[in-house]
């Protein structure tokens, strides 16, 4: 990598108050300050955001992609974590 190569940043945009930041894409910038500004220009040109996070792509640790991974499979067999698991008599409200 030459000195002129700018690192890659992942951009997360909060589209409006009350929602969480979601991944919008990535961009190149020499440092965090410029990454924020570039993200503003690139990903919120049409007023798509009220708040931006930028994270160096290299700083992200990701889980393994394999779907049969031990990472996610155990969560799939715990239906009692979901409200639809429970039977509620008809007519009972506010549950």
């Amino acid at each position: 990598m030459t000195t002129a190569d700018w690192p890659l940043w992942e951009v997360f945009v909060r589209s409006r108050r009350g929602l969480s930041h979601t991944h919008a894409g990535s961009l190149h910038a020499p440092d965090a300050e410029m990454a924020l500004r570039n993200a503003r220009d690139l990903y919120t040109r049409r007023g798509e955001g009220v708040s931006i996070w930028v994270v160096p792509s290299a700083a992200i640790t990701a889980s393994s992609p394999d779907e049969k991974d031990p990472f996610f499979e155990p969560a799939a067999d715990k239906p009692y974590r979901h409200p639809t698991f429970y039977e509620i008599p008809e007519g009972v409200k506010h549950l």
């Binding site: 190149h28 410029m34 500004r37 570039n38 220009d41």
Partner: protein, 256 residues
């Protein structure tokens, strides 16, 4: 065809009398924005990095938006932009200066956006006819100023080569900065002395942080530069207008 610019000037005075907008001030501010927007538009497709294509165009679009509001206060925006002769434009000579390298463009942006931000700050605080526009523009110019300052820091305190280019650019454009503080007729509420002091203070601070030296040459002189507000411009401006106006003038009376 040749009579058109004169007609435009006449109708513009009439309109301005009817609406109470200080026409000279609207034109001065509008021409600044129009001309700088045009210069920034020349960068499109030539920027040093793709992200900067987007950033420079954002600034150009903000300025064009300001210009359209300001010119429309005086008359028809297109007649004013396309049918006035060079001497009828009252923009600062600073904004018409050619783009040069990226350092020159950033130095021009820095000088102008700090000025514009401070000026619109004052106008927004008042209750004159420009207050509503200034309230919106002050937010835009805050961003333009930030963009210019960020790049001034990076070019000034980047590599030896970028430092030299940035210093050279600051020196080259310095002579055009005194003109910004000539009082503009119709902007009576503006404290021009205070504006100049604040501008200088801000420039000193940014350039120092960028490891650059505040230029020492004259900031305006009758023999040097600084009569844009009186309609006297520099050589490159005529060419710029020729390019900008040629198509519109080639089809008199056409709508686009």
């Amino acid at each position: 065809m040749t009579a058109q610019p004169a007609d435009t000037r006449t109708s513009l005075t009439t309109v301005s009398r009817e609406t109470d907008v200080p026409a000279a001030a609207a034109l001065a501010l509008g021409d600044d924005a129009l001309v700088l927007s045009h210069r920034l538009g020349e960068w499109i497709g030539h920027a040093p990095v793709l992200e900067e294509e987007v950033a420079l165009t954002n600034i150009a679009l903000d300025l064009l938006g300001q210009a359209r509001v300001l010119l429309s206060m005086v008359g028809d925006e297109d007649e004013l932009a396309y049918l006035r002769e060079e001497r009828a434009f009252t923009n600062l000579q600073l904004v018409e200066q050619p783009n040069g390298d990226f350092a020159h463009t950033i130095a021009r942006q820095l000088y102008f956006s700090v000025y514009q931000h401070l000026l619109y700050g004052q106008l927004a605080a008042g209750d004159g006819p420009f207050a509503p526009l200034a309230a919106k523009a002050v937010k835009e110019t805050a961003y333009h100023r930030d963009h210019a300052e960020q790049w001034t820091l990076r070019l000034g305190d980047g590599t030896q080569a970028s430092h030299e280019r940035m210093q050279r650019a600051c020196e080259a454009l310095w002579r055009f900065t005194g003109e910004m503080f000539q009082p503009v007729a119709g902007l009576d509420s503006v404290d021009w002395t205070g504006l100049e002091a604040a501008w200088l203070e801000s420039l000193e601070d940014v350039l120092r942080r960028a490891t650059l030296t505040l230029p020492e040459g004259p900031r305006s002189a009758p023999w040097a530069a600084g009569a844009g507000r009186q309609g006297v411009h520099t050589e490159p401006f005529g060419r710029m207008l020729a390019e900008m106006q040629h198509l519109h003038r080639s089809h008199p009376g056409a709508t686009w």
